[in-house]
Amino acid sequence: MLEINQLVIKLGDNTLNYQRTINTGETVTLQGVSGVGKSSLLLCIAGFVKASSGSITFHGKDIANMACDNRPVAMLFQESNLFEHISVLKNALLGTVQITEEALMEAANALNISDQMHKMPTQLSGGQRQRVALLRTLLRPEPIILLDEPFAELDNHTREISASWVANMAREHNKTLLLVTHQNEDVEKLGASNWVIK
């Protein structure tokens, strides 16, 4: 169980407050107007933004004071998810443990990017880059998955395929999934509970 308890993040003059309990294996979509602090919350859980007060616990263990390297979290950022100077395949394998190339290609196939794996990131479109990063994040062993607008650059058809792949993977591996989205249909497709931040 992931517990966000009286968490306070200060960004300049803004003070953001969060309170939520998320069950293990649950998928939660995060919505709210721009600037309300959705990405900041994900970055705080991942360890890249420091909280002013409150706690984040996972299975009863406080993770808020852990170094980001030690947190049980895999995160997809809004942008800059790939190293530009190494191949897509090498990028996709980073951070994953004991994933064979076959398993990776299977996942890539499901996301329609299997023919892009031997290219360099600069040769890919925004949507293809997004799916490579999505694939890697979901294949990582960490039990908490944080996705910051993972489908933002995808067309409707690809968005549908990707969302259903994410939902399957999360269910199959019992991942606790928290993702930011502006699209209401994503909530339904992912079978998620919605958390609207005000």
């Binding site: 360890g47 890249f48 980001c68 950022f77 790939l82 190494i86 980073l94 951070g95």
Partner: protein, 519 residues
């Protein structure tokens, strides 16, 4: 692992500082006295200090001001003749062993030099003009290369936008070009100033008397002729203080903002009038001649030398030792430079700017520490306890590593810091191991790491000062052999040995430039 690597980096910084402290301790303990503070009010000291600053300032101003139009020529006219060769030559000039340069300059502009009759009776290579000319030869190419690199980093989109907005030449200069250059201008200016301020071999060969002596040469004279350690220490502390202050300021003003990710994009072709094209080509040609002339001046001596088996054997053995020492120094310096950068990068990421500046200053301090003090201090300290005839080479390697380390750090730091700016968060998020991160960094920075290795290899191969103290009689490096030939007036043999050393430099440069462009 990150913690361990940071600690290792800090350990290396500490080790570098300890070596310097030991050298100073060696001198102080031997003489049983501290610095001779009375010297600070002596007119001799004032004259040396003033000359050190004057010659460094003039050399740096000339090098940077002249480099600008030449870098523009290279940038705006991409199809200049022999351009890759010109760029390799600029690197060669910067790393050229001073003795080879002096031999070339003397043949060209000395009392009976080929060009001296054209310069009138007033001309004298020895003194301020000769020193500035030699400093210009060594540092102008460095400034050209640095400015050219900065100009190449201007994003194409800036030029396209400028064209679309119909910018005047002045607007292009002030809005696009100058910001690109000014980002690292202070750093380049300061770096050249420190090199000239601490200049030793050039001033020793072309200077003379208190009117044209730098602090570094005065330290050497105080130690070698008078063995006045008190005076040497005062001069050394003064040099360390002045160059150190300058160095500290440099690290505050440094910026790498222009080393953006899209720097590899193709070059937008600006259009130029025929007159400006001719002017640029002329400037380029004059610089080409200036860089080649002292090297060609070695040729008559090379042809006149008698090539005996003894000469051949001496040169071959010396060459082998030079390569061995050079490669060892360069490899060790690169490894240390990378480790030393780890805690510095960590502090920069944590936005602990003050701590980062201090760490960088400590890691690079051998750039400003007087080489003579380091050598003589360590020699005196270890002479009673270590068989220096036997283990002298260990000191040659150690001190050479110390001398080339700031160059290695200086070259790789911008690229590594840029890597952190682009990817530190992603790397942390992926929880990469040290070796995974290193492997990705290697691919990102391979080109700069390879070219830096080349630079420090060539710098280490040119050493004479350290070898003069710790080298042995039966083992000689090629620069030391050149020095021995030249000092016994065997100029033809000196020219032949210089030509061999120069050829090796050219081969290594061409090979490594190719490796760099393929990386």
């Amino acid at each position: 692992m990150t913690k361990l690597s940071n600690i290792t980096g800090l350990f290396f910084i500490l080790l570098i500082c300890i070596i310097t402290l030991l050298a100073f301790y060696g001198l102080i303990a031997f003489s049983g006295q501290g610095a001779d503070l009375a010297l600070l009010t002596d007119s001799y000291f004032h004259a040396i200090l003033l000359f050190s600053i004057k010659q460094a300032l003039l050399s740096t101003l000339l090098a940077t001001l002249l480099a600008w139009p030449i870098a523009r020529a290279l940038y705006y006219l991409p199809k200049l003749y022999f351009k890759p060769f010109f760029l390799s030559l600029t690197l060669l000039c910067f790393v050229l062993p001073t003795l080879v340069l002096i031999t070339g300059f003397v043949s060209l502009l000395g009392r009976s030099g080929y060009l001296s009759p054209l310069l009138g009776e007033q001309w004298n290579l020895y003194g301020l003009q000769g020193i500035i000319l030699a400093h210009l030869y060594l540092n102008l190419p460095f400034a050209i290369r640095a400015f050219y690199g900065q100009l190449q980093n201007i994003p194409n989109t800036s030029w396209i936008l400028a064209r679309q907005l119909k910018f005047s030449a002045w607007q292009k200069l002030t809005i696009i070009e100058w910001p690109a250059l000014s980002a690292n201008f202070a750093l380049i200016f300061g770096f050249i100033f420190i090199l000239c301020f601490n200049s030793f071999a050039v001033v020793l060969a072309l200077g003379g008397g208190p009117q044209s002596t730098t602090l570094e040469v005065a330290i050497y004279q105080a130690l070698k002729y008078d063995f006045n350690i008190g005076e040497a220490l005062t001069l050394a502390w003064s040099q360390l203080f002045i160059a150190g202050c300058f160095f500290m300021l440099l690290y505050r003003s440094n910026s790498v903002a222009w080393l953006a990710k899209d720097s590899h994009l193709g070059h937008w072709q600006n259009t130029h009038s025929t007159i400006s094209k001719i002017a640029y080509t002329l400037i380029y040609t004059i610089t080409f001649v200036f860089m080649l002339a002292p090297l060609f001046a070695l040729l008559p001596g090379v042809f006149a030398a008698s090539y005996t088996l003894t000469l051949f054997t001496s040169i071959s053995e010396a060459l082998l030792l030079t390569l061995l020492l050079g490669f060892s120094c360069a490899a060790i310096a690169m490894v240390i430079a990378y480790w030393v950068m780890l805690p510095i990068r960590q502090t920069l990421l944590a936005q602990q700017t003050q701590r980062a500046i201090i760490l960088q200053w400590l890691a690079n301090h051998s750039l400003i520490a007087p080489a003579m003090v380091l050598c003589v201090g360590l020699y005196i300290l270890f002479l009673p306890v270590i068989d220096l005839d036997r283990y002298g080479m260990v000191f040659v390697v150690t001190l050479n590593v110390l001398m080339v380390l700031p160059f290695a750090i200086q070259q790789i730091r911008a690229r590594l810091i840029q890597f952190d700016r682009d990817y530190a968060v992603l790397s942390a998020s992926l929880k990469l191991s040290f070796w995974q991160k290193f492997s990705i960094e290697w691919q990102y920075a391979k080109s700069i790491l390879v070219s830096t290795f080349a630079l420090v290899l060539l710098l280490a191969m040119g050493d004479v000062a350290i070898f003069s103290i710790f080298g042995s009689d039966h083992l000689k490096t090629l620069p030391w052999l050149i020095y021995q030939y030249a000092s016994s007036y065997r100029i033809n043999e000196a020219s032949a040995a210089s030509a061999v050393l120069l050829s090796i430099y050219v081969i290594l440069l061409l090979y490594l430039e190719r490796a760099k462009s393929n990386a």
